[in-house]
Subunit: 95 residues, 7 copies
């Protein structure tokens, strides 16, 4: 079961320090001052809240930095998902 976001929202799974899923790199959550990193698993179709279409600059599998407090948190199948608007993404992590 998956969450399909609407508008310009994205769904993100936080990267767990034990998984070391980003190119072998371990990024403990505490190393990111107030922020969280995560991997995008779904993106909306690209529409602003005004109803205008907008470009989605991120795609599934992108690793992003975000702040939990700008997100809706959804626990599904014992996994915490974060849903946030694209404009609240702080940045995309490049290797």
């Amino acid at each position: 079961m998956k969450i399909k976001p609407l508008f310009d929202r994205v769904v993100v799974l936080p990267i767990n320090e034990q998984k070391a899923s980003h190119g072998g790199l371990v990024l403990p959550e505490t190393a990111m001052s107030e922020q969280t990193i995560g991997k995008i698993v779904a993106v909306g179709s690209g529409t602003t809240f005004d109803g205008n279409s907008c470009e989605m600059f991120v795609k599934p599998n992108d690793t992003i930095v975000f702040n939990k407090y700008t997100c809706d948190e959804v626990k599904l199948d014992n996994t915490t998902h974060y849903v946030l608007r694209q404009i609240d993404i702080i940045g995309v992590l490049d290797d």
Copy 2:
């Protein structure tokens, strides 16, 4: 008796853990951290509050994740209905 929503609002019935109505799946409300899941029973005609037409991305029978606190709650025929704007839907659940 039914509630017909206006503008970009939708009417949702929360899915009860005893009903297991989503493909046999039981989704206890407590499993969704701060969120609620529900089934859409009616959608507005697709108009923003500014009076512009807008696309409705959801339809009756869609299962959505939403937050009760962004909703108006209406009790009708002993059933609790939630009315919210499409832009406040956190996501649509796919099987």
Copy 3:
């Protein structure tokens, strides 16, 4: 004496549980969690606060669900009238 609303406002009379005026149906106010139902008695000409024309989706005699706290309350001829904007109508009740 009547109240003629301007812009996209509507005037509503709350439906009293003793009157049973909606198709013989008695809808006690306490059955509607935080909401009130009422019958529309007048609608504005259809203009947003920005001065643009807008469609009025409701008409006199429609039964609507609304929240008193989004209304201006006016007592006239010993009758309480509620005046609210169309965008604050939670929904229209269909039989």
Copy 4:
């Protein structure tokens, strides 16, 4: 000496219960729950705060329902005038 309102503002004189000026009708202020009724004595030229022209739906001698707390109060020649924007008029009273 008169107050000429600008933009979409109107100037209103509250109707005093002793004057019975609305078709012989006496409307004590206490009969209007939180609202005041008054007679319009001047209307602005019809411009929104954004600088766009807008239609004025009211004219001098119209009797309106309004809320004092959305008004600027001006005492001139020992008479209290209320100045408010057209969008804050709750409704026009028809005989």
Copy 5:
């Protein structure tokens, strides 16, 4: 030395009750409930904060009613000037 206002602002000198400068009329400040009257001494070129041009409905020597608390107060050459936006003028006083 003078203050030249920008955008849709105007500069106003409050009318002192001792000066009786408005057609011989003495308007003590206390006669105006919460408001102040003053004479406009300068007006901006007519531009909204969004950068669009807008009509200036007032001109130097107009007597206006305004509220000090919507103004910036500037003391220059021992004289108190009030600077406010045209949209905050409550009304123009006509003789």
Copy 6:
């Protein structure tokens, strides 16, 4: 080293009462009720925060009245600079 402002911002140096730099005039800061006067040393290219171009009504060497509390204060080379948006300038001082 200089501060180059962006958008519709300007950089201002407050005029010190000892410098008497405005045509020999001494304007002690305390003579300006809540306001400060200063000389513009740099102006932005003229763009609103929405990205639209806008006219800059002020230029370097203009003397303006402004409020410190609408400014960002920057101390550079032991000199206090104020950076503010053009729309927050209260007025330009003419001789």
Copy 7:
């Protein structure tokens, strides 16, 4: 590993007083009243939050003045990065 900003955001590294990285100049953070200076390391593609394209007035290696409290702070590889919107840059420092 780098942070790629989206929209009109920029990523900034604060200039440390020990590094004297700006043309040999040492700018101790305490010399900047409430502000911080830093060097831009990445800029977004130039899009406002409304989805419109906008000009980016800054580029990598520009030295800017900014306020930490308008930023998201991200600690990566033991280095503190600040991410802010272009409109929150107080100014660009020219030599």
